[in-house]
Subunit: 184 residues, 2 copies
């Protein structure tokens, strides 16, 4: 028996995306978003309300990065999701993150985040909050790869956002292979 919760933005799992942009003076900004995901082969879609400094920055530089928040950076990722870049231009500085310029797009990378998607703006539509980006590169710390050259999710240690309880969770153990059950 199912219980109705109404029209809500609830999904499991939801990501914790740290969107990095430069402002008009080249100062790095970061904001955290949970409403988004891969939308095509090399495309990501994220909801960015136009009151965010990020929205303005996207128009100027036409590029952004998406850092994957991990357990080690959970508090800083939460912080940049709460504090507005319009009110506190030192917000990134307060995280202690090392800012590096992406080699692929005009946007900052926060070195401490273990993985980053480097994206060009395809479109941004303020009324629908819809940012669509072309993923031009994905980069991850050498330390999060296994010996066989594959990303190791346990080393990456990403977090997921629980939208009903407003908590963050780690990712758990492997429970099976995908594309493995062509017969039941």
């Amino acid at each position: 028996m199912k219980k109705n919760l109404g029209a809500k933005a609830i999904l499991y799992p939801m990501p914790v995306l740290v969107v990095g942009t430069y402002d008009e003076n080249g100062v790095a900004n970061a904001m955290t978003a949970a409403w988004g995901g891969i939308s095509e082969e090399t495309e990501i879609t994220i909801c960015i309300s136009d009151e965010h400094k990020t929205a303005k920055n996207l128009e100027v530089h036409k590029g952004f990065t998406v850092g994957i928040a991990d357990v080690a950076n959970m508090k800083a990722a939460d912080f940049v999701g709460i504090v507005s870049g319009n009110k506190d231009s030192a917000k990134v500085e307060k995280t202690g993150w090392t800012v590096e310029k992406s080699s692929f797009v005009d946007a900052p990378i926060f070195a401490e985040l273990p993985m980053v998607l480097e994206c060009e703006v395809i479109s941004y539509d303020a009324p629908s909050c819809r940012l669509i980006g072309r993923i031009v590169n994905v980069a991850a710390d050498e330390r999060v790869f296994n010996e066989d050259g594959k990303l190791d999710i346990a080393k990456l240690n990403p977090i997921t956002y629980d939208p009903m309880n407003h908590t963050y969770h780690a990712i758990g153990e492997c429970v099976g292979k995908a594309f493995a059950n062509s017969k039941l």
Copy 2:
């Protein structure tokens, strides 16, 4: 030091979304998608390639459901992501899932999946594979709620897809509260 992986659809965590639709004869179909996420307050966006039976079904019924795949239903969710509804109209039957009609939209609910989003089609654009749906209700099994009426992610036990290793993972322990770090 980061290692470049190129332009890829890699994100952590990614969801395992079981999209439920009815065909022109009212037969339930299911397909699994990992490219998608919440895109607004009451909106979900999912990439559905137009060769899928689901794409045709969406045009006919203007509604769909999104079941959250859990550990118990991992194999069946993987199965409906591999087998085409165009080639095997009995694919849902093979999962053993109980099909119930949504009270909110013209689409089937698979009762064994612990949570479901019931959605109206806002738009579907085949060239971009972009399905945008309005979430009109979210429903979850009574057994996945805590005594305080909140969803319990450990009881829900959703899975996440690892796009680099093609594996499914459970969600792990709570590592912190969100909206809790307004100062660092």
